[in-house]
């Protein structure tokens, strides 16, 4: 056991050392490269991160126009950051395994919601209630993740549109279970959850608990938090999110993480090396679905109410939009993208209706604008990724052309000399 502990310490130590070397190396490169070189790199950097830059510029203008007090914007963004981080981070692992943006994360959200519904029926409240809901969501997420993973293995190359369709399909199955089976087949005791007709869960499930009962609303955030002015900083939630970040960093170092990176780059080479490609991809989806389940529980405990038949569908699309706004792409994403993305995306989301009202006097315009921007951002990032991937293929032709021109040039100089 001791060497296990020792390995953990050493890996953390050289993790930080590695980070230090990389930064100093970057600094040295920056210094000894000529200004023209730096400008070209800057141009390259700007093109690669066009989406976050657009958002930064947009927010810079929109916040003053919206007339919202800066502190209230910050308060909203912080709460949303706490609410959404876990969900957005759960998208990183499938990207690492080369399966693109996992639109199937709504499956995890559904598992989390079913866990919460059962727990609030058994009237288990507070943090134990949330943990119980998480434990219940694990087996459901594993089954749904396994189903989604096997389907994606059958549709190699078009994983994203297939996972999108699976989320629609599962929405039907979810409604079948929650709207028809719960209450009739699956015993649901408290009819504060059931629809008046006696079976099927009602549209909104309130976690604040009725008539003063403790319920689960904000129990995670209020457990241990302090306030800066009006902004509540929930330390426990931050700890949980930090735990997930450490898990992701640690996961990249594991054998499974390495296999996933290998499968993500080239499935055939990985298979030749003996890696079980199909199993690795299914595991990637299962882990992502389980994490999405936990993320949904954190999200709903912060929201306080569950919109039974809709919240899981929106959450998938907005988490992916947030990740892409942070500069992530279909094949590359890291923790920095997730957090930057949430902050920028949600700032835009909070501010644009007010900006719309002040600018054109139509609040509804702001509402539509932000939905347009979130879809637009996903389209733009998908297109940019595909265009860049195709451009990379063409560079060998450029090399040959240069070799040809060089060869012709020195042939002419040879003739001139001769």
């Amino acid at each position: 056991m001791s060497n296990i502990f020792k390995n953990a310490v050493t890996s953390v130590k050289d993790g930080f050392k590695g980070f230090g070397d990389r930064q100093s190396k970057k600094f040295h490169d920056f210094v000894n490269r000529g200004p023209k070189e730096n400008l070209k790199n800057l141009g390259e950097f700007a093109l690669n991160n066009i989406v976050p830059i657009i958002f930064i510029v947009f927010c810079a203008f929109a916040i003053p126009i919206s007339g919202q007090p800066f502190s209230s914007v910050v308060r909203d963004v912080v709460t949303r950051l706490m609410r959404n981080s876990f969900l957005v981070l759960s998208l990183l692992i499938p990207i690492m395994a080369g399966m693109g943006l996992n639109f199937g994360m709504t499956l995890g959200a559904m598992a989390g919601q079913i866990g919460l519904i059962l727990v609030s029926d058994w009237q288990v409240v507070g943090i134990p209630g949330l943990m119980l809901a998480a434990i219940i969501s694990i087996p459901i997420s594993i089954v749904l993740g396994w189903f989604c993973g096997t389907m994606l293995n059958k549709a190699k190359g078009r994983e994203m549109v297939t996972s999108y369709m699976i989320s629609f399909f599962m929405n039907g199955v979810y409604q079948l279970v929650v709207l028809y089976m719960m209450g009739s087949i699956i015993p649901i005791a408290s009819n504060s959850l059931l629809l008046p007709r006696g079976y099927g869960i009602r549209n909104t499930v309130n976690f604040a608990g009725t008539k003063g009962s403790l319920g689960m609303r904000k129990s995670l955030d209020n457990f241990w938090s302090f306030n800066i002015g009006t902004i509540q900083i929930p330390i426990l939630t931050i700890l949980i999110i930090a735990l997930l970040c450490i898990f992701i960093l640690w996961f990249k170092k594991t054998k499974l993480g390495q296999d996933m990176r290998a499968v993500g780059q080239d499935m055939e080479v990985a298979r030749e090396a003996g890696i079980k490609v199909e199993r690795t991809r299914v595991l990637a989806i299962i882990i992502s679905t389980v994490l999405a389940g936990f993320g949904m529980i954190i999200y709903l405990s912060n929201m306080g109410t569950l919109n039974t038949y809709n919240s899981h569908s929106q959450i998938g699309m907005f988490s992916i939009a947030a990740l892409l706004v942070g500069g992530a792409s279909v094949s590359k994403a890291n923790i920095r993208n997730a957090f930057l993305g949430i902050i920028l995306f949600h700032t835009m989301f909070i501010v644009s209706p007010y900006a719309g009202k002040n600018l054109i006097g139509e609040a509804q315009l702001g509402e539509y604008f932000r939905v347009f921007v979130s879809y637009g951002v996903i389209t733009l990032s998908l297109v940019l990724y595909e265009v860049k991937a195709r451009r990379a293929k063409g560079h060998q032709a450029k090399e040959l052309k240069e070799a040809q021109e060089k060869m012709l040039k020195n042939k002419e100089t040879a003739e001139v000399i001769a």
């Binding site: 389907m151 059958k154 549709a155 190359g157 078009r158 994203m160 549109v161 297939t162 999108y164 369709m165 699976i166 629609f168 399909f169 929405n171 039907g172 199955v173 409604q175 079948l176 709207l179 028809y180 054109i360 139509e362 509804q364 315009l365 539509y368 604008f369 939905v371 347009f372 879809y375 637009g376 996903i378 389209t379 998908l382 297109v383 595909e386 265009v387 195709r390």
Partner: protein, 386 residues
């Protein structure tokens, strides 16, 4: 290799040949499609028990068939040219909506507004289709995902435009503010039922419902026909478009498009301009989408704006897949069979369910069947467009 051929020519025994044909028939028809057809037939059988009048059910199915058929037909050109399933159909639908709103704005009553709407919609669908086609050519191989999001972005963009565009016709704009269009605009007085009523076979006028004296069979027949109304105009309209597409696929350009979809390397080697052919197929698909939504509105009676077109691509996609099309092969028969099956289920399940079990599970069943069908198609091994 050569011995493989002799096998084909040897005459087979009578019995197994017959069985062979059934087996290949089943395989060609596809197992899921068989299940869905069986389900639909079952619904029709138990309809009387759920005291659902077959006549009204058939009328409903035919009516819904006419309304959606052209939008399902819009899928054919892009599937043929290898661009995959057109999840970006909302783009065409938006062109149609623009046509409809402009035609109501010019306020010409009656049927003429229908043709005017198509006239207005054409330039929009060509421009949208051209830009959309150019974009898809840049992302060959992952068209479907990007098409979905182009559709969503376009619809949400138009939500803003419906607020800003200067429409004045009182029937369309919000009462108080006067700026921005209503979410649903009635087509009464314009082209409402313009196609439906053209040569409509309204049996209910000629046949009175079953009276006491009639025998069982005559009574059933009377009940059936007295509720039967066939919107021949709409069916004819679809038939014309189906014929146009069928004929187009026989032309030189149509053949080239099929070749591009079947093997784009082969087409390139035979001198076909791949990108131009694909763009033309996208423009056709967008234009058909526009006409499709206009036909839909004239029968449905309302023009739905704002978020309505968000998920309009899904029914058309699942319909053509239920009809037996694959991601890179689709025929007119796929369109017809698929639309009948899909609309059949969508109309029959609510009425039969309510009759039998007094719960409306139809929405859930529709979602499961239509999306299940799309997943089934996406997970088939076709290396064509992804």
């Amino acid at each position: 290799m050569t011995n493989e051929l002799e096998l084909q020519q040897t005459p087979q025994k009578k019995g197994s040949a017959f069985l062979e044909r059934i087996k290949s028939g089943v395989k060609a028809f596809g197992l899921p499609r068989l299940i869905i057809t069986g389900f639909l037939v079952l619904l029709f059988l138990i309809a009387p028990a759920a005291h659902v009048n077959i006549g009204t059910a058939i009328t409903d199915v035919i009516n819904r068939f006419g309304m959606n058929a052209i939008m399902v037909l819009a899928m054919v050109p892009m599937i043929h040219s290898g661009c995959g399933l057109n999840f970006g159909l909302p783009l065409g639908i938006i062109a149609g909506l623009l046509g409809a709103t402009l035609s109501i704005q010019t306020n010409i009553p009656g049927g003429a507004s229908f043709w005017l709407a198509i006239l207005y919609a054409t330039p929009f669908s060509v421009i949208f289709g051209w830009a959309y086609g150019k974009l898809l050519n840049k992302v060959k191989g992952s068209e479907m995902m990007i098409a979905t999001y182009v559709g969503f972005s376009a619809v949400s963009f138009m939500c803003m435009m419906w607020l800003l565009l200067p429409f004045k016709n009182p029937t369309m704009i919000w009462g108080y503010g006067g700026s921005g269009l209503r979410t649903t605009i009635s087509t009464q007085g314009y082209y409402y039922h313009y196609l439906n009523d053209f040569l409509a076979l309204d049996f209910s006028k000629w046949v009175s419902p079953a009276s006491v004296g009639d025998g069982a069979f005559i009574g059933a027949m009377k009940n059936f026909f007295s509720h039967l109304v066939i919107p021949t105009g709409m069916i004819l309209f679809f038939a014309v478009f189906a014929f146009i597409i069928w004929a187009f696929l026989k032309t030189k350009m149509g053949t080239a498009m099929t070749a591009v979809g079947s093997n784009s390397q082969f087409a390139m080697a035979s001198g076909i301009n791949i990108d131009r052919t694909r763009t033309i197929s996208v423009i056709m698909s967008t234009w058909l989408g526009a006409v499709g939504i206009l036909v839909y509105e004239q029968s449905f009676g309302f023009i739905q704006l704002y978020n309505a077109p968000f998920y309009m691509a899904m029914p058309a996609v699942s319909a053509i897949l239920i009809g037996g099309a694959s991601v890179n092969k689709a025929t007119i028969t796929n369109v017809i069979i698929g639309t009948i099956l899909y609309q059949g289920i969508v109309t029959m399940t609510p009425s039969v369910m309510n009759g039998l079990v007094h719960t409306d599970m139809s929405e859930v069943i529709r979602i499961i069947i239509s999306n299940g069908m799309i997943i089934y198609a996406l997970t088939r091994k076709t290396e064509a467009s992804r």
